[in-house]
Amino acid sequence: MTRARWQNLLHDLGACLVVFVFLFPILWWVLASFKPYSAIFVPQPVFVDFAATTANYDVTILGQSRTAQALEQGGQVGGTAGGGSSYYSIPSILDSLVVAVLSTALCLVLATLAAYALSRLRFAGKDHYVFWVLSQRMMPPIAVAIPFFFIFRDLGLRDTHLGLVIAHALVNLPLAVLLMKSFMDDVPKEVDEAAMIDGATRLQSFARVVLPMVRGGLAATAVLCFIFSWTEFLVSLQLTTSIRTIPVKISTFVTSTGTEWGFITALGSAAMVPAFIFILLVQRHLVRGLTLGSMKD
């Protein structure tokens, strides 16, 4: 079905507009990370008319001490003390990255295995099992975070990367199982059966036939698991002291004498980069997605 030129143009314009609207808060935020306070705290929004400064990034990313930086700016040191070291955030970014990647991997492995069974095999209590998995997500976050604190502490996993990886994988499991199951359901059972008739075992059928077909679903689920881990706050807060994932680190920028908006915007902006890269890497598979043409050949 061909469309008129102007219809296409309209469509393109609409798409760009929508994406822009959604991107605006992020753009505004990143802009703020380059602004001096005098350009943020003004009644009329400032878009371009300000003296850009990289001061916030110097402290959070490059680890420059606040006092040294203030000297460069003309010799005024901040009222809140603490050298730059307490705002240096690269370790946090690395911590978050490690935990997110590992917990996503763990979660996907467990979830995909379970999802395959739920999708392909028939057994008593299947629906109840699925509901039970889903119900893991139904408690308010605080009611989960606090018992986690006790349990992980007793296991000696508190304030370890492994502990956090397990906790995050656990939190994401219900989501991953459900999503993978629904994606697998879209692959007809006949495909499996065809493979098995040809002599493949179920495991092979799973690994070689079904899995490649749900690549798009795997990508989507991986993205979501990564994101949930990257942005998770309460559980991470309870389970860590020396490891500071990004959301927890940001919460420490709220001091008793003032919120450090400059550093928060800088870290917030910097934190988007790794996560976005991850999405981009996985994006290809997302788009190529499922192809249901296998029955045709």
Binding site: V19, I146, S182, A200, P247, I264, L286
Partner: protein, 312 residues
């Protein structure tokens, strides 16, 4: 060469060589779900059961400040919670929040997914960019919108005043009736891309034949959408709705950062109320409220599954 051929050709040799593989293959070849489900189940049982059991235990006890120990009080906490007007108010706020956000996110999500589901050049980039809001930690999103909705310095307030829908004297988040909208705005902004992602994946999976057939038969775009796209997206949509609704009902971060439950209790959702109580040490009561949240969710989820005959 068919897929099965390739599978078969490597099968015997591999299996013979690796004992672990052989064991796994044998175990996983059975049609019994156990080995497949075991890892996930074990993990959930190990860590997931404890919060539930602990909360139930807490809800049946009371912390005595003088003896510094818990004493069994049976259903007392439950009676207190079920007759607590603040709890019911929180339930109402949470329900409003969930329903409205869900509706908006669904509609917007589907619309945007349809909009972006094209193979023209650049749309891949647009789709990627669309997922950016998801990457922001909810606490940061809350701060973002706090800054933008600030009565004095907020860019959204500025344009809102220009458009006449907001007034400087009453910043949105300080307004009793509309503060919830401010919080919902943050949620919709952040989670519509989630719906978009799910729907995009679902749209990509739709078989082409029915659509081609319908086009040949002369159906117009709207009919195709309503009669073909929507029902076929049904299953994916159901999962998305379920997951999103559960998360919406448990919302905490945005309220914590943006309004602290205020003004008054206008935005005090159940999780936040429970959180307040946890912080000031009344663990038992907080656990009771949390369990009430759980029960409500279980009941509603069940209803939903039955009503819409969501098949797992």
């Amino acid at each position: 060469m068919s897929v099965a051929d390739s599978a078969r050709s490597s099968a015997p040799a591999d299996l013979a060589r690796q004992p672990v593989r052989r064991f796994l293959a044998r175990v996983l070849v059975s049609d019994h779900p156990f080995p497949w489900l075991f890892p996930a189940t074990a993990m959930i049982l190990a860590f997931g059961i404890y919060p539930l059991v602990y909360s139930i235990w807490l809800s049946l006890h009371e912390w005595n400040r003088f003896t510094r120990s818990f004493s069994f009080v049976g259903g007392e906490q439950w009676a207190k919670a079920l007759t607590d007007p603040r709890m019911w108010h929180a339930l109402g706020v949470t329900t409003t929040y969930t329903v409205v956000c869900l509706a908006v996110e669904l509609a917007l999500g589907l619309g945007i997914a349809l909009l972006l589901d094209r193979d023209r050049r650049g749309y891949g980039v647009l789709r990627g960019l669309m997922t950016l809001p998801l990457v922001v930690p909810p606490a940061v999103t809350g701060l973002m919108f706090l800054l933008m909705l600030d009565g004095q310095f907020g860019v959204l307030t500025y344009y809102g005043v220009m458009l006449g829908i907001l007034e400087r004297a009453q910043p949105l988040l300080g307004h009793t009736s509309f503060a919830l909208f401010g919080v919902m705005l943050a949620d919709v902004w952040q989670w519509t891309p989630f719906m978009v992602l799910i729907f995009l994946a679902g749209l990509r999976a739709l078989p082409k034949d029915p659509f081609e057939a319908a086009a040949i038969d002369g159906a117009n775009a709207f009919q195709i959408f309503w009669r073909l796209t929507v029902p076929m997206l049904g299953r994916v949509a159901a999962v998305a709705i379920l997951i999103r609704a559960i998360d919406l009902f448990r919302i905490y971060d945005y309220v914590y950062v943006m309004t602290g439950g205020g003004p008054g209790t206008a935005t005090e959702v159940l999780s936040f109320y429970a959180g307040r109580i946890f912080t000031t040490g009344n663990f038992s009561y907080a656990a009771t409220i949390s369990l009430i949240t759980l029960v409500v969710l279980i009941v509603v989820a069940n209803l939903f599954i039955r009503l819409f005959r969501v098949r797992f």
